[in-house]
Symmetry: C2
Subunit: 457 residues, 2 copies
Amino acid sequence: MEIKELYKEYKKFVGKSVETAGWIRNHRVSSNVGFIDLSDGTTIKNVQLVYGKETEDFEKITHLHIGSAIRVTGKVVESTGGKQDFELEVEKIVLEGDCPEDYPIQPKRHTREFLRSEAYLRPRTNLFNAVFRIRSLAAGAIHAYFQSKGYIYMHSPIITASDCEGAGEMFQVTTLDLDRVAKEGKVDYSKDFFGKKASLTVSGQLEGETFAMAFSKIYTFGPTFRAENSNTTSHLSEFWMIEPEIAFCDLNGLMDIEEDMLKYIINYVLNNGKDELEFLDSFVEKGLIDKLTKLVNSQFTRITHHDVIKLLKEADVEWQFKPEYGEDIAREHEKYITEYFDGPVFITDWPKDIKAFYMKQNDDGETVRAVDLEVPMAGELMGGSQREDDYDKLVTRMKEMGLNPEDMEWYVNLRKYGSCTHAGFGMGFERLVMYLTGVENIRDVIPYFRAPNNCEY
Amino acid sequence: MEIKELYKEYKKFVGKSVETAGWIRNHRVSSNVGFIDLSDGTTIKNVQLVYGKETEDFEKITHLHIGSAIRVTGKVVESTGGKQDFELEVEKIVLEGDCPEDYPIQPKRHTREFLRSEAYLRPRTNLFNAVFRIRSLAAGAIHAYFQSKGYIYMHSPIITASDCEGAGEMFQVTTLDLDRVAKEGKVDYSKDFFGKKASLTVSGQLEGETFAMAFSKIYTFGPTFRAENSNTTSHLSEFWMIEPEIAFCDLNGLMDIEEDMLKYIINYVLNNGKDELEFLDSFVEKGLIDKLTKLVNSQFTRITHHDVIKLLKEADVEWQFKPEYGEDIAREHEKYITEYFDGPVFITDWPKDIKAFYMKQNDDGETVRAVDLEVPMAGELMGGSQREDDYDKLVTRMKEMGLNPEDMEWYVNLRKYGSCTHAGFGMGFERLVMYLTGVENIRDVIPYFRAPNNCEY
C-alpha cells in the first residue's frame, strides 16, 4: 500500500496490519524503542514506524541505515499528540537494499549547490520532492486544460532546418565524424544525416501555426534549446515550452486565453498540491500560497507599451535604465508596473523593431500586436502576439529584417492559402515552475539542467 | 461558435442565427443555389452552408475559392434527408483570406506520397485531421492515466553525455564551428558548448530510474532519437516515447500496468474519438473499431520465450526464419503467436545475450526478466523488464558487455543507495498511433517526420 493511500485511508485501517515499502529517511534508536521515518515518495509526508524490544528482529532493525529500502508490515495506530496522525507498529521489516553510512543524503540541511552536484539523489529530499511533484502537477494541469477545451496537442519537430526567430544561437545536430572533418579539412553536408545542416529547435511556433490553420486550436509542449553562453540562475540551454496557437483569434482573445490558462493551472496546483505548497511556503518562499491565491482572484490589467513608458516616465523613481518610447523595458520597470497595478499586467502593442518578424503590424507603422504578460515576483511569464496574416506585409517585413522568405516558403504560404486572423503565445515551463514553487534558481526546477559546460547524466 | 460545439448543440439553435468561421473544403454552385462545406478543424465533420439568389452578395459568394478562410453568419436549419443533421442558411459571409485556384489541397483523393511532400497542408485533409486528432487524444489519455494514478511526470534530459543502451547510433550535438574544425585540422571538445562530446538521448530510462528511486512511480513522455540509416515505413530518426518506471514492482506487476494502461488509452480513444475512428474504419483499416474493442475486452496471455520457441518449433509451419532457443524471434513468429492466442501476448524471460545490460538476471544464468508485448496487427508495442537491482551482478554484466561502470557511476550507485525491486517499460508513441489509426507508414502519424535525408520544416 502506498503511503499516500495510507494517509488518505488510515482511519479504515486502525488496529489492522498493512504492508508498505519505502526508503528510510531518519532513524532514532534508544535502548527499548526505535523510530523510523519512512518515505516512498508518493507524498511529501513520511510515515513513522515504531518498534520495540518485543518486535521480531529488534536488534537487526536497530542497525538499519538511513537511505535503505525496506518492506514493512505494521499495525496502524492513531498517534496521541505529536505531528503524525498515525504511526505503524512494526510487525516485520524486510531489508530490500542496504545503504552505506557515507550515503550523501543525510537527515540534515544540505546546500542546494551540494544537491545540484548530486542531482540524481536530490529528489530524495523534501525540497526536491515538493518541487518535482509541483512540476508534474503543473504539466498535468496544462494538458488537462487544453485537452478539455478541444485543443490538439501537436508535437513540433525537435530537429529542424529552420530557425524560428532568425535570432537565437542554435545547437547543431550532426552525424558527421568530427575527427574525420578535421582530418579531411572540409565539411561535406551532403554526407550528413539529413543531407544538410540541421539544428535543435528554438521554438515550435512556426510549425504550430501550420497546424492551427487546420485545427483552429493547437498547443505544443516540448523541449526547446538555446546555445547561449549565459551561466545565470534564469537561463537554461534546454528547457520546456508551451506554445498554443489559435486561428480566428485576435490579441484580446489571446489575452483571455492566457489569463484563463494561468488561473486554471494555479488553481489546479493549489487544489492538488496542498502538502507540497505548505512545505514550500514554510521553507522556500514565505507567503507562497497567499501569492498564488491572490493571483487566481486578480483581474489582469491590459495596457499598451506606450502608456507603460508614459507611466514610468511620470513615476517619481530614479531609474537605473531610463524608460524610452520605442525601446524595451528593464526588470526594474516590470517590477514597478506590476506593483503599480498590484497584479499581473498585459503590456501590448510593442515597438516593432524590438519584436519578431511574424507579429501583426499595427496601422501606425511603428508597433506590432505583441503582448507580454508581466506577473508580480515572476517577471515576464508569457510572450505572444497576433500573427501577421497579410502575405505582402509579412514578406516585406522579413526582407527588412534580413530574412529570406524563400527559406520559409511553407510559412509565408500560410498567408496565401486561406489566411486568417490568428494569435499565439509561448510560456517557458521552468519559469512557471519557479513561480509556483518559489525556487529562485532555474537549475533547481528541472531534473537535469543543461548549461554551458554542464551536461551531467 | 466552433463547429464541434454547433454539432453538439444545434438543436438549441434551430431557427436562430449563429456565427462561425473556418475554411472552405468544397463549393458547388448552380444558377440559383450554392453549397459550401466548411471546416474549422475542431471536428472531422464539416458544416454545410446553403445560400441562394436572395442571399446578400450572392454573386460574390459564388466565386469563393476552395481553401479560403471565411466568417459566416447563418440560420440553423434541420436537414431533411441527406447526410447532415443540420445546415446553415447563409445570412452573411466575410472573406478573411482568399486562396488561389492552384491550391494543392483540392476536394479529391490525394496520394499519401503527395501529401507527405506538402506536409504543412496535409492536416487540412480528412485523413490527417483524423490521424492527428487521435494522436492528440492518445497523448491526453496517457497523461490522464498516469496523473490520475499518482505517477510523477518526469522530463528526462534530451541532450546527454550518456548512452543508455550502449548501442543505438546517436546524433551529436555541438556548437563547434565545423568549418573551423576543418580549417584547424583538430577537434577541441574543451571549446564545445558543454566542454565535452554530447548527443541526443536514445532513451530516458536510466535517468527515469533515478526518479523512480525517489518517487516510486514516474513516467517520461518525450522525444528520443536514433541516427540509424533506415529508410523504412516503421522507423523514424525522431520519435516520442513513454517510459514509466516503478519501484517495489516486479515483472508481473509491470505486465499488469502495461495491460491496464493500454486498455485505458484505447477505451479513452474509443469514447472520445468516435467520429475519427469511424472515418478511419471506413477509409483506412476496415474493422479498426472491432479490433480496438476486442483488445480492451481481451485477456493478455503471459508466456516465456522458451515456451514460445517450443510452440513455434512444434507448429506445422514452413518458417522463413527457423525459431531457436536463445535467439530473437522474427515478425512471422510474432504474428503466429498473437494469432495462436487470439490476442495480445506478453513474452517473458528472454535470452540475456539479446537484451540490455540493465535487465534483471534470472537464476538460470541464461535469461533475464524482460518482457515484450506482442499485439495482433501491431507487433511489438512495448518492451520492458525488471531491472537488475544487485550492484555486483550489474557491474559484472556491464563489463561482460564492454561497458565501463565508471562512466555511469550514478546509475550503478542506485544499486548501492537503497536498491529495490523495480521495473519499467518503453512504448514508442508513433507505433501506438499507427495501431490506433490503422495507418501503415510511420511517417504519416507524426507532424513532421525526420529520416535520412529528410528534415523539412
